[in-house]
Amino acid sequence: MYSFIKKYTETMQDQNIYPLFSLLVFVVFFVAVLWYVKALDKNEVEEIKNLPLEH
């Protein structure tokens, strides 16, 4: 398996895929984080937000 990857990557020509891949991964990740934040329960956020002031 490793030798297959090695052989493929050693001779790989088109590296433009890297920036594109990275951007895509980030956009997907960022949208997921936004979704996560949007889905948070308001009361719970309020509770967590005040944790530093408790002790």
Binding site: Q15, I48, P52
Partner: protein, 704 residues
Amino acid sequence: MQVESFQYDNKTVRNFAIATIIWGVVGMTVGLWVALQLVYPTVLNLQPYFNFGRIRPLHTNAVIFAFVGNAMFMGIYYSLQRLLKARMFSDALSAIHFWGWQLIIVAAAITLPLGFSTAKEYAELEWPIDIAITIVWVIFGFNMFATIIKRRERHLYVAVWFYIATFVTVAVLHLVNSLELPVTLFKSYSWYAGVQDALVQWWYGHNAVAFFLTTPFLGLMYYFMPKAANRPVFSYKLSIIHFWALIFLYIWAGPHHLLYTALPNWAQSLGIVFSFMLIFPSWGGMINGLLTLRGAWDKVREDVILKFMVVAVTAYGMSTFEGPMLSLKSINAVAHFSDWIIAHVHIGGLGWNGMLTFGILYWLIPRIYKTELYSKKLANIHFWLATLGILFYAIPMYWAGFQQVAMWKQFTPSGQLKYQFLETVTYMAPFYAMRALGGTLYLTGAIIGMVNYFKTIGQGTLQANEDAQAPALEKTYTQHTGEHWHRWIERRPTPFLLLSLIVILIGGLVELVPTFLVKSNIPTISSVKPYTALELQGRDIYTREGCYTCHSQMIRPFRSETERYGEYSKAGEFVYDHPFQWGSKRTGPDLAREGSGNLKKSNSWHYNHFEEPNSISTGSVMPSYSFLIDDNLDTASTPLKINAMRTLGVPYAADYASKANQDLMIQAKAISDDLQKDGIKVSPNKEIIALIAYMQRLGTDINK
């Protein structure tokens, strides 16, 4: 639900606080010393132990790992216990962590002036200390994690997320960048060479800024700013976006330290894109910090702690605006290698880390000592001295940077470079003096702060174990109806750690793996051959003396550089460089082609220049290296070094180790004989001969 009584451990917090104060003053004093060495080079460079090249790493290591490191641990040990409503898991582990870290600092303070250095910036400590760092770091992480597991608070506040990300990422960075092959007890070679070493080093270097100087301090900001202002953070949701976006993006940013170098273009582009995007989460965090003070700005006028914190967060905003800008190719082309970068990092170091640390100390010490601050007036004086110090430091350095670059790049109408490099050095003298004044102001403030902290400690009594009460955590958690999947991850620290790890590994792997595997990334040059035994020994003297702190070995493809230094540097030229020595600052000229073309000098020039740089280059700020004339070269290490290089893949013949010293002496004798022709009598077995041999080799291979 049963309410449990327990106690917070303030003793460890106190220990880290005191270490922060003391190491802070020490690190800044060394900083002022190196700053003054550039103003009074002949008086303040005390060779060999206290030459600029050896104690500049001492300054950077002291302020990063001793001052900021201890401050980080102080804040984490205080806030983590309270956010989790639990005492640290083990007092013994806390103590081992504290004393282990201090021992590492002492070891660094001894070994760096002795010249034991890997010559990789901010990772200069040699392999035994690297192992000690790993052990102590794991102890810290284990103690933190075990505390998280036995917590009495179900939710993990965002500050704890930042601490977890700090732990896991620093562990990965340290392990990957410190892969080195030991040669002797205090000498190792980086496992990577040339371009690959450069990429790993700056992947580490930039993320040391990100995950040692930034993420833990953001955690501290999210805890201590609400505490000091007595109101919750402006937007908790924004802090979540801040966290995930920041840790995802930061890990890609390293290659912006290598723009226009021999690093493959695609890696440079990745670095630029992600560095630029970093401005969004960074500013989100800054705005979140500043808006926490909404409706409390009147307090900032009265409360010195908030003043420190406001300047800190503002400095964070400034440096995280400047960082992405400096990552743009056109700006980087101008700013890189100049004093501009020194200004930039000190806005971060003095402003963000320094001011936040002082603010937290002023808040925390009276609380754990159950007393009032000794003097608010002194704290205000400290604040103003520190703020003015930052300005007096940064403004001359920005100005110096612009001026320096303008002079480096200026051509006459007839198309020749207008200034000799030395002219740009002597022009810097007043700026360096002003910078030292800024440093003096900041240090004076820190000393006044130290007096104030210790006076406060003197008038109070440490509450080593502070009583607290909290309900026990339910063993089984009943899910709310309609609960989202995110609640699952938020409650579980281990999957959270793994998720953070995956997030930071994505960027690291995409950048590093192809650079190691894709052959076309580093085109080989057949005329590039391994160093001779003497040159290799000379190179080790170069790394030992920290020459990379002032000299680059990387000619970028600009006319202003190729005219001055010769043909631009190619990736294939560095394949035997363990470690790479591209440098990051040109206080002196680039040395990539010091041995070739117009730059080539005679052996006697180098000899005289090392002995007394000022006698050859009037106005030079380089220290004297006359001790190299007296010190014998350690030839016993030659076979070990050759064998180590062979292990790393450098193609020396199998039996070369046994013949290397013979070879070495022949080359050394030739240089010694040549020097004698110019009336210089020096034995071939002196260190200076090896260093001259290395200088004469630099950049010559591609002309063969």
